[in-house]
Symmetry: C2
Subunit: 402 residues, 2 copies
């Protein structure tokens, strides 16, 4: 798409190390893993032709990947897509796996995903986390992680890393929760609360939800804006297949975009923020309902039954979302907007007014809005898959493991 | 900053070609150019140690770069920073050069910049371009480009490419002006109007202004939002040293972010867009002045003299900018906002109210706002430097030239 003149970043200035044989080998190992992952089972010859290397070069790489437990040979008798005789290669269903965890306002969840992308073990614990300390929650989550990891180990898997989704802003160190108002946490170093032997990444749930959409959604483009809601409203910006994180890791705070500059005061210190018009609590208030458990189910149920107050409240929330998204689309020019999390369940009542705003205010072609099929599962799946992706992208990270 | 688990993009999936010796050599050539450009004059040994390659490997690369006219040897007698005896290397002040051009609403400008970043020739033609056809304007611009290129050629330079800044939206093909309302152009293929023998890139002036800020500004971070204004208001988002272009190339349309959702109708089809409150015409109208030439000088002059209407109009424009920027900062979390173009000259009267909004509405630490020192020169310089950067980033693009 872009001409050579558009390369703004010098390839020589943004890497600490020079380009070496080692770096080249690492990238070619990743190419083999991605080729087999996307198109396998594949013979060595077919893999070589897919990635444009010689068969001899690929064989050396494949031998390492088999030794590390990332690939397996299916044997010469396997029929199907493999044209030439020779053993077909497949991504291993044993060996390294990703563990994803989610800290929700009223639940904890953990799952294990193998290198093939299959969920192999899962556990959920319901119960309010609001007001509990990070130590209390982490302790319980660690126990849940252990039970899921043990279950996976019985099937020959071992955890290559743990990724934790939280409903809050996470610093770029990937471990400090700077602010999670709906848990009552600030500046909580989760890195210190998890076992040190497992590589850990903590991230905002909207970010992991967007990554799940990128990796698992059908036909999701590489440039999109992912909007999700639990109690707050969050968004994640994906550009050319990468999350835009922001300087401090705080990008995507759509909930605090002003949509009524002289409107309601917001606890953030601002005025007229989107969250004051489209957040769950605002919608409940507008509909005359009391906060409680399972807010989304409650709202969706009543709207379904034809409750006019609820429908008007959701329609107005859609209008506010449409105003905020018009600004975001003008700034980012995404290929699509995806509504995820709780918003996907409420989309039948939000979408019409949201689209009216987006269409009426659009300068050019209107940015399409899609509804996520992953819904509330997105963040947990995104977390587990982020570990798997890290292994596929640099297989040498697991080379040392016996 | 980012842990390996944050790598969302597979290194093997986003490049068409496998990693080869040729690709490695190209990247190492770029490393040599950037090292000498940033720290030269440097001996071959010092260059090798800067980029972590052997002296023998660097010498082979340097020989090619000298033959292509990109580096020159200063001779062994040069004193100074070079510790060891041996010929010091410097970026050549002859050889390939970048030509930048700017199509403004009331001027055309062209300049040549050598590989050292020095402006070597320059030409400006004043006169309104509004309502003239792309063909008419391009013809005149081509003549200006020729005269500047000839001047540069007399000093031993030759044009490696031409980059043209336009006040409008440019498609990602880097040649089609999709919409330039202040010129009255739409869907104009500038690529067909310039000589085919020179690599051409057309881009939005706000984008080139932001790149100039990135490359030439003092202490400009690698993540920032650049806001500029001529007749319209544009912005450019720079993330990790790269422009965020958007799916169609239209990212950065800050002027059409809604700041008063029920406010004034905008020719774009929207309502309450920032441009209706902070665009030059809106400010003139609010100040009770007639549109004319040199609007910015006129506004700045009157504000300087203490004209209360003008000051109030600029203060209100700053407020509207502050509302739109609050949304942008919440979405993007940039390290800083830079006011460029005409906004830099008006900043004394815009900044106080702009900062009041940004501070009052900020959830966390306030994003700092800086004023560009390049001002209206930014887009032209950014265009010329983009050609120079392309050569530094991949020196092989000029290898074929005698």
């Amino acid at each position: 798409m872009t001409s050579p003149l558009h390369e703004e970043r010098a390839p020589g200035t943004d890497r600490a190390l020079p380009d070496t044989q080692q770096g080249m080998r690492r990238r070619n190992l990743a190419r083999v893993m991605h080729a087999v992952s996307a198109e396998g089972p594949l013979s060595r010859a077919a893999t070589a032709s897919r990635i444009g290397l010689t068969r001899a070069a690929v064989s050396t790489l494949v031998d390492d990947l088999i030794r590390w437990g990332l690939l397996e040979e299916l044997g010469p008798e396997r029929p199907g897509r493999v044209g030439r005789p020779g053993s077909a290669l497949a991504v291993s269903g044993r060996g390294p796996a990703g563990i994803g965890a989610e800290i929700g306002v009223d639940h904890l969840a953990v799952c294990t995903v193998d290198l093939r992308g299959v969920v192999r073990a899962r556990a959920v614990r319901h119960g309010a986390n609001r007001g509990r300390s990070p130590q209390q929650v982490a302790k319980e989550l660690v126990a849940l992680v252990h039970s899921v990891a043990e279950e996976a180990e019985r099937e020959g898997l071992w955890p290559a890393g743990l990724a934790v989704a939280v409903p809050g802003l996470v610093a770029r160190d990937g471990r400090t929760v700077v602010r999670a108002p709906n848990l009552g946490w600030h500046d909580a170093d989760l890195g210190a609360l998890f076992p040190g032997n497992l590589p850990l990444t903590v991230d905002n749930e909207a970010n992991f939800g967007a990554l799940a959409e990128l990796w698992l959604g059908e036909g999701t483009p590489r440039d999109f804006l992912h909007v999700s809601a639990e109690i707050g409203i969050g968004a994640a910006v994906v550009v050319d297949g990468r999350l835009l994180r922001g300087t401090r890791g705080f990008a995507g705070e759509l909930g605090h975009v002003p949509v009524r500059p002289d409107g309601r005061a917001c606890p953030c210190g601002g005025r007229g923020c989107l969250e004051q018009y489209a957040g769950e609590e605002a919608v409940l208030r507008a509909a005359g309902l009391e906060p409680g458990e399972d807010l989304v189910d409650q709202l969706a149920g009543r709207a379904e039954e034809g409750d006019e107050n609820v429908r008007v409240a959701l329609r107005d929330a859609g209008t506010a979302l449409g105003v905020a998204l018009t600004g975001a689309v003008n700034l980012l020019d995404p290929e699509t907007v995806v509504l995820g999390g709780a918003l996907s369940d409420l989309s039948p009542w939000l979408l019409p007014s949201l689209q009216t705003e987006l269409t009426g205010r659009a300068a050019g072609p209107v940015c399409p809005v899609a509804v996520s099929r992953l819904g509330p599962q997105g963040p947990l799946l995104g977390a587990a898959h982020s570990v798997v992706r890290a292994v596929l992208d640099d297989p040498t990270v697991v080379a040392e493991r016996p």
